[in-house]
Homo-oligomer: 336 residues x 2
Amino acid sequence: MTLAGALSKRENDATALGILARSKALVHPALLTATRQLDDELQRVIGHHLGAGGKYVRATLALLSARAAGVSERVGLPGAIAIECVHNFSLIHDDIIDGDVERRHVATVWAKFGIGPALIAGDALSALAFQLLLDAPTEERVHAAQRLADATQAMIVGQAEDIASEEELSLTVEECRRMEAGKTGALLSCAASIGAVLAGASDVLVENLSRYGEHLGLAFQAVDDILGVWGDPSVTGKPVGNDLRLRKKTLPVAIAYAKGFDVLAVSSSPNERELSHAEVSEAIVLLEESGARYETQELAETELHAALAALDRATMEDSARSELAVIARYVIERDQ
Amino acid sequence: MTLAGALSKRENDATALGILARSKALVHPALLTATRQLDDELQRVIGHHLGAGGKYVRATLALLSARAAGVSERVGLPGAIAIECVHNFSLIHDDIIDGDVERRHVATVWAKFGIGPALIAGDALSALAFQLLLDAPTEERVHAAQRLADATQAMIVGQAEDIASEEELSLTVEECRRMEAGKTGALLSCAASIGAVLAGASDVLVENLSRYGEHLGLAFQAVDDILGVWGDPSVTGKPVGNDLRLRKKTLPVAIAYAKGFDVLAVSSSPNERELSHAEVSEAIVLLEESGARYETQELAETELHAALAALDRATMEDSARSELAVIARYVIERDQ
């Protein structure tokens, strides 16, 4: 925590990018190697997706959590690969569900290859995660696989709640947070502890690393929700107010609703799936008036502090703790 | 084998239906109970799919394989439920991929709820299978989960090859069989041995039950291919020559092609996704001329005998062996 606290944003960003690049250099090739057991066509489809980039935040947490437990990052590698398999399976399927045609300025899998091949590619990555962990089933790997299965299911349930909320007029702030804890928090929590699980670390350490990941997930998602309304389109690669356009029940919308601002009611045609450009602008004005932007930012910072507090509660290797703190701060201060 | 051999088709069918009904009565409620850990909306979507019926062939094999190993069918139950989770996940996703709007005369999941909810429901069932087996990870359950992950991946790869073959002019008979061994054989092989694995049976028994399932899968798929061309629409619930209409590279088509009959070349508009009604009729005439129907039927019977031979090679509880033989014969003689 000292390191994260002592750095300027620019220094913290540079440090974080260095850590992420180091993990990516380790995990990306290992992930491609793991997909070689699939057939050529699946490899081509998955290769296109993985080639589009990605920051490897989850893989980084997995590796750092092994170091936190006092062992080499290599011990966390199978966990890092498995987590990235599940994460990328969810991205590929989410793009089908949301009808998104670009991700990181590259065509999404379904847009390039069709819904069938994209669906199958996601399914293959999902099964691959469990194959990798159960291939040489030590007690630690089985425990990791068990936790990954639970986290994957929590993520899927969160995603289902997210879809179901499209039909609802509003969510309470609590419902929204619960949905986001599943959708984003569960896999981050699993990632931030899987290396320690593979290292056979104590329950206390595993528990505190999980908490760190859970709070980080909620902070991450709150920032995502802010960027979904106020993000710079030239940086995020998405239209202005993209989440509002899609009528998403995000934190700012739920917070505003609780204060009497029914932001999505600006729509004059409730049966249209999307808000018009003018309606999005009007919704943004209402959100600003309600103070929801500031409150969502506050929530993100509260979660960041809770994540850092969880790190401080457990005994762990110091440099790993510092780097986990740097990653957390980087995630919260990002603008894309 | 004696029992299967001594019965008339009608007697064998009746015996098989009794065995299947008994398994369904055990597994169907247990499967619904397992889905209760998901959220209400997912339960509703999955409940619609499971409510449409299903013969529970795979669950039955799982239960019988426990009995084959000399223990109660109850020991195989977690395996039976997990296998049905994976099987139903694949059906729900396949219906999206194929654009099928009905299954067993009921609206498919995507047709009723949309692609997003169907995709998510399949994902949830897939993760649930591993959650169930890893929940209380004894050595036997971990072994079962490992085999299920491998079988699931083989099924997915077979499905990917099936989709990729749509772009190809033809498959060799060998390519077609390999694809079908993955698409159908892998999960049946896992089902037919998972109860024995959970019972901690010998490698020899597990191996022979797997072989039985693998051959049964190939026989099953050969019969499926015959019904896809010559099945009675009033019984199968699908249009005449449905597989031909969709230009599927099935066994009869591959066998005919190897003999110089390019059945799918009847199409005058190669860019259309589907064959016309007249083209389907013409393709059926060509298939008949080639003798492919008879040869596919012969292949199914050869695989049935190989399945029964695998059963006879291992020491196992006699009534389970008889019932596995009855199920195999039933599957091959079915007309839907």
